[in-house]
Amino acid sequence: MAPIERNRVQLDRRTCSTARWPVLVSALIAGIAIFGAAAVAATNHASAFVQKSAIEAIAILSNGALPADQRRAQFRTVILRNFDVPVISRFVAEPYWTKASPDQQSRFQDIFQSALASIYTERFFDYAGESLQVKGTHVGAEGVTIVQTTIATPTGNKSYDVDWIVTGPAGAEKFLDVVIDGISTNVTTQQDYGSVLRSTNGNLDALTAALKAKGF
């Protein structure tokens, strides 16, 4: 804290030495206020989006009237609607994505979205009846909003810290990533696929074939 305080004092002295300091200071305050308001609005939207999605997901997962495979199918639809599939597809296949042809990329994306739905369905399908608690939100790098939550396992034995990385304008938010106890789903998938891609000299079609063979 101390160095920051010192910097502030120095800044004040410097601005005081010019005649225009009231203008500068008020401009600065206005700037902070506008930026701050925008950031708060973004974090509120993101937080509301996480809560809305959680309510939707929990409603499906705890719907005892439907058999498990139908609940699973509905849950997958919600995931595909709420996640930014094109951006995630690119991320998980880097650095080989940029070397692939548009045809290869689109073939990969078609299969990958099914894999992505499976990853999150497996992860959250057991959480029926659990509610998620929002602990806080903050703005991360490249304008994404990070919504920090805690989810307890159904038996209540363990709770996970789950960060939801949200992107997009208000009303059209999408999830970019879900970070569970510090483990980013995207990074894990990228390193998983990276292992496959390295062993096939970075051939994206080989990765697509491996995903197909796994049944996605």
Binding site: R123, V139, S159
Partner: protein, 270 residues
């Protein structure tokens, strides 16, 4: 008898792993079993993964996976809804309670005062009100258990993680973590206390039960990771490394013990 064959196969693999793990240090000295790829990006990635004995680690990973299959019936018995689930939960709670003194020592060694307060409170409350740790009373007050170990303390002190290791039964680790685990068998306050009280014979059964308990706890997550990944080994390695980074940075402070008691602020800007 197919079940017997699976058991035998797993046992042989474990024996192979145990001899493999004794060769681990020598292998690390030799630095690499696999040749590096030619592509610069791939080569940089492989170097960053820091897994010089990957072929041996993969063998251990496969053996651990088979061990999970063998433990599956136990997992079913311990899971919620089964008649003996309360007993399994009690055993788990007692084992977690016995970990608290070591967790407390590591919290302190890392300067995580709030976490140390949490583990101390947990041990005191659960050992008394929780009848020797059978009931996790502290959790109901919002002070849930957190993990801490000597490997993490070494990490907080600036010692690098070193090459990735897959330990038999215990699962993913690194040289720092494995050294910490080995040290814990020597300096665990509960083991020391039991030895001093003349109950040395209880130390290894408790350590064995603890390893089993941790395996059972991690099994569902490991199975999920396996089902949704193409190379489960690579996915687990990535997850372990990320989780370690997070564990070192995490203050492990339960919200109810934060100053002000209101949890973390509603908004925070970077």
């Amino acid at each position: 008898m197919p079940g017997g064959r699976v058991n035998m196969h797993w046992f042989l693999k474990l024996r192979r792993c145990l001899s493999a793990s004794s060769a681990i240090l020598a292998a690390i000295g030799l630095a690499s079993c696999a040749s590096l790829p030619n592509d610069p990006a791939a080569r940089a990635e492989v170097e960053r993964l820091n897994d010089p004995i990957e072929p041996i680690n993969r063998e251990v990973y496969a053996a651990n996976k088979e061990m999970r299959q063998v433990l599956l019936p136990l997992q079913m018995i311990a899971s919620a809804g089964s008649p003996v689930a309360p007993l399994a939960a009690a055993v788990h709670n007692v084992l977690v309670n016995l970990r608290e003194p070591l967790t407390f020592a590591n919290d302190l060694a890392q300067g995580k005062e709030c976490a140390a307060g949490a583990s101390l409170r947990r041990f005191m409350v659960n050992s008394t009100l929780g009848v020797g740790g059978i009931f996790d009373v502290a959790k109901d007050y919002g002070v849930a258990a957190h993990d801490n170990d000597i490997g993490q303390t070494l990490g907080v002190w600036g010692i690098p993680a070193g090459p990735y290791l897959m330990l038999p039964v215990l699962g993913p680790s690194d040289v720092r973590g494995a050294a910490g685990t080995a040290a814990e068998y020597v300096v665990d306050p509960v083991s020391l206390g039991l030895s001093r009280a003349g109950w040395t014979a209880a130390v290894w059964p408790i350590a064995g039960l603890d390893a089993l308990d941790r395996s059972l706890e991690a099994a569902p997550d490991l199975d999920k990771l396996d089902r949704t990944s193409l190379d489960g080994y690579a996915a687990l390695r990535s997850a372990y490394r990320q989780n370690q980074t997070e564990a070192l940075n995490d203050d492990k402070c339960p919200d109810v013990l934060r100053i002000g008691g209101e949890g973390i602020p509603a908004t925070r800007s970077n």
